[in-house]
Symmetry: D2
Subunit: 399 residues, 4 copies
């Protein structure tokens, strides 16, 4: 059977690196499937692809190789077992042929400054899209792949101000044709190229420029499944489990303050207020949506290099109970962002491949539980989102 | 329309005091319904009784009056507004006529030592049960009540070792007849008396001696609704919201340690390892039941007088994710136990009265979300328990 | 014996209100001296003034009265005993005669916007200084006071960029004469007026415009004791106790992140980045000064209205130990800012009055332990600062 | 120059293993001196021995080798760099010749149960002491050592009830002669043997049976420096820095609750209430001693295997300030016990060798800052203890 290809945007980043290293480690039984949702019993009836069936590749704007990225990641994070990298060195090296220079076009100064190996140069948007389509096809042909999936794991871009030209497909195509660089970001171009090539597309970042309404329509037309935005891995995951409690108990949330500190590349990019704005937008909507009212609430993100990938988040929740009494709940989350994200990416690869095989198209609502700001879904409560997933599985199993 | 009576076991304790004071304050619009589940929109169609429709009374083994209890509670807990007590002094005083001496029979040394005003003396179990039934009837007749509900809000008793005689009704009645004091606790006698008098009965405490299987059968026979055990107000509430998250994400919980400190009467009684055992049993089962496996987990409870009613709980959760990486989540809960419990008791009064009116009997499974160890229910996840409640409401609204 | 007067800048703020209310409550034995440093045994030999010996007054830019301020403060902070206010209503009312309209001249937009009752108008700096001197003299004469002390308890101003004209007295006087409003802030004018009137002056705020070098020289000339900056009441207090531990153990601090949330007027003013800058400057210098090197460190302050005066601070300290191992310490401080500050203000009143009586002048180095950024002192370690205080007491007791 | 020998009691434990591994790593420049107090500038003038000058050996009651211990330690604690062990394998192996079977005589059931390789058998106390003296001399002669130091790093024994026979030297010698096993513990025999052999002795554990008064007298007679008890590495270190703050500010500590969880051998032994009692005794005295009064205070220690060496401690401090207002401070300490202890042991080796060389004898008061319960010292404040050390250094530098 031919294999399935996965192209990562941001392929040298920590998350992509962990997905690739973890996948190789799984093949060699160097680790278990802990953290993978699709390893739960409820998935046991399904035929999902296995790590052995996947070929990885991708784009990045920085120089480097998969092996270098993995070595850096494991060296900078004391909790990780360096034995894993040494056990998969050859396989990591072999992947380099599937790596292409990426583009940082219109990504904002902080990301553009990192783009030592950018493919964007001075060419037009149309030429850039063609280049990305060409990369996809090379990858597909060189590896004789049945299907290719594209995952956006790159740094958070500044928010894109959505207008009519992002809503209607023809207006969007004019925009590309007229080379209106200010109306797109790099993630838009990747998404456009992927969907044109009929590649299922996941936006694992908060960048709203990726799955704009026009491209979702295109995905529906082309029978391509897509989903996003922003993988739900840590603080927001906890919030989506906790907030319903206050609602169920009719306790009035007065304030919900969240302070995040982290030190990886994500932290560095989010130190720029412009990029941070995107992240905070996806992180903050969960509270009001679940509670039905908007308490005082702010999410703060700060760059603390010594933590590297170990995101630490303190949340202070002030609430009012009976007789007007004020009480509080605090939580402190200490998790490795990429270690938490990687198994979810593997899950999404398996579930998006399934959806493609089953002929599904457009927004994959049943994957809402994987995202901070699930596209097309108004349900933010973790338990109810998980129920959407199990309902889907029941339906799949019946057919 | 005639009113509904509510008799509290432990009527001078903090929870009962807060229910009574809160109820009077609601009648006078001195406070809002924050913290009351039955104030949520989903209950809006139902005809539930109002604070005005309730007459309070109860038993206690300590001397004192409702007004004294309320004054102590508000004085010892700086967060409370003393204006509330002064606004309801007369009403509190008027309640004294509905108070009866309680019994601490077979409740263990710590509780028995507190029993300055015990009604138990040297009389037989049968005589004690008769005395309690007589109290119920006096209360009913004096206040011309339609129905009387009995709520166990007393201190946690040591666990009762359940045997055949607690399972079969006839064996249980022999036990009473033979005056086998070692085979019951005070809570058993109250429950027996209440059910014989067809009073809906709630065990808001962890004491397993209250709703033993034989008495649940009796409740079914007599068309009496009952439910327990142990009101879910704080640490366990948070746990029942958080634990499913680890399961949904396939994160392996390695250890879950809970440290509770509190300084009220409950804290004092739980300082005795014998009584604490009951509490820890209801608190610890939630983890294994939700996860499906048993991580290292202990709940610790310690008496810290300066906190009075402000229970503070630290939970440390150690878990393993992808690539075997250890991570942690901690939470700190600072809540007033009685302030959290009281509105739930008001909810249960309203919902048990409804159940009685509707002719329901035996275990009220739909009330599982209110309890740490819900009788007859295997579902410990808060969201799923809440769904059980909404399903019930949908059914009621249809009929 | 004639009494001592104390004039507060920001006399209707929470701190001033708590000092006044606490002082009246002490006279009536409604509270104890907990939190007052001068109540420690080491002060027992000294003759310090008592609450009975003090007459309070002050300036504010907002309308209101001492009684209104006290009522608001006690109502908004559930932990406080409202009985205290009702016990001192008459005394609070009697103080109104000692209150003058204040000035917000050059205090930045956020403070100026609050100035409903400002005395500044369009007049010159010289006229403003004369007005303040006149207020001091009225207060002194009306109450037949031996001495008057001036305490700056007002909101934090934006930092003043110090230049030559702030260093030399004659240049400073030219600046006033030439009405160079952009080169002063309100706190400069108060300090200047106070020192000219030979009033001991305390800058309890971070505003660096108050005790500029030129005015310290003037204080030395006029035999006036002065001290500042910024009362050390909470997070920084804890830091000055904890940081030396890392130094003594040769543990390398990698990062020290501090997140402060609070909801009083102070919090509202500090929500303006301009004003916050002053505060963060005094808060951040303590780490580098004690450690001898500068780890990654940031102090964040955010306005969370529901907390009112209950400042809550989370500090995350990341440090490296033997074999390069990273470890962490976190602390969570939950303290009432004004309740912590007020007894220190009472201490400073007593110790500044003593200093004046003893003929001391200029910077009071021995009071370093009371301040976040002690003027003229390079010692930031709490224990060593306390030793400076006890050394001073030993000297005083000898003479 | 001949070298200095160090014999560890508990030589295969985590702390001893870290000292040895760290010392070898320092020789090879595989790590830095972070965490070593004697690396501070204030020690720069002194001639202290270097890692190169030390030969390690010791006793243990468990089978194993230094290499096995180090491998286990690094494997079980994800934060550690396994590269260190592989860099020193040969050197670790070479140390095996200096290892002797230890004794667990009268150490309580939990420790005795671990003693797979005990030397105690059925022999008399006198024979055991002779055996230990023989070990010391073999070690000294085989390695041609100038001096030998003995460090107790073994598991905490249950407390020994001190009587007359532990106070007077002749009574103590009778006790040994009469083979009164119930009146000693293993640590007593080690200390006795060490001092008889004129080996400086450090009790880094809370076991009070080690440096009993009779043996301190013997140390004075024999010109042997000794010190203890219980290395101050984590929670108590923080407390000794923080508690003075409450005293200096006259804030009344109401309650100080400490919860420790850890998963190493120390944690396993302390899970036995008998052994835990010793630890809690040394941990609890610091509060009352610094404050001058005894607030409600308890230290809890619980065994949580998944944490291994990463001790995690939550402390909740409830205190009262002005106007009777209750406030709180919490801290969470996450440190690796052995990583924190090892550099202090290296410091103590260097400073005890210096003391021996300088002819000092008996209790080394200037080392108080290294211990939770410093022998012969009433000063528990970290800063003041550190001052005792710097005073000593000043004196040494003068001579």
């Amino acid at each position: 059977m031919s294999k399935v290809g996965v192209l990562f945007i941001g392929a040298l980043g920590y998350i992509a690196t962990t997905v690739v290293a973890g996948s190789l480690a799984l093949r060699k039984s160097l680790c278990k499937r802990t953290g993978m949702v699709t390893d739960l019993d409820i998935f046991s009836g399904l035929r999902l692809i296995e790590p052995d069936d996947i070929v990885f590749g991708g784009w990045d704007i920085r120089p480097g190789s998969p092996l270098e990225s993995a070595s850096t990641f494991f060296r900078n994070n004391q909790m990780l077992d360096p034995g894993i990298v040494s056990g998969i060195e050859d396989e990591l090296n072999a992947l380099s042929v599937n790596f292409f220079p990426g583009t940082a076009r219109s990504c904002g100064r902080t990301i553009e400054r990192m783009a030592e190996k950018s493919a964007s140069g001075e060419c037009t948007l149309r030429a850039l899209v063609d280049k990305l389509r060409h990369d996809i096809n090379s990858f597909r042909n060189n590896n004789r792949l049945k299907d290719v999936l594209v995952f956006n794991l790159s740094s958070t871009e500044p928010p894109l101000n959505l207008q009519h030209c992002h809503t209607e497909l023809s207006a969007f195509e004019d925009l590309i044709g007229n080379n209106r660089c200010e109306a797109v970001r790099a993630s838009t171009l990747y998404a456009y190229a992927a969907i044109l090539e009929r590649c299922p597309y996941i936006n694992f970042t908060p960048s709203n420029a990726a799955l704009i309404p026009a491209l979702i329509k295109l995905a529906e037309e082309k029978d391509v499944p897509v989903m996003g935005d922003d993988g739900k891995t840590g603080e927001t995951l906890v919030k989506s489990a906790l907030i319903p409690m206050f609602r169920y108990r009719n306790l009035e949330v007065l304030s919900w303050e969240g302070f995040n500190i982290l030190g990886n590349m994500d932290g560095r990019v989010l130190d720029d207020p412009e990029n941070r704005e995107s992240k905070i937008l996806t992180k903050e909507q969960v509270i009001g949506n679940i509670l039905g009212y908007a308490p005082h609430s702010k999410v703060h993100i700060n760059y603390v290099p010594s933590l590297d990938d170990q995101k630490t988040a303190w949340n202070f929740i002030h609430f009012k109970g009976f007789l007007g009494t004020k009480m509080s709940l605090q939580f402190i989350w200490q998790g490795y962002d990429s270690i938490l994200a990687a198994p979810l990416v593997l899950d999404l690869i398996r579930l998006m491949e399934l959806a493609k095989r089953r002929g599904e198209s457009g927004i994959m609502h049943h994957l809402a539980s994987f995202f901070k700001a699930p596209l097309g879904v108004n349900e933010y409560r973790l338990s109810e989102q998980f129920r959407m997933l199990t309902n889907y599985l029941n339906q799949v199993n019946k057919t």
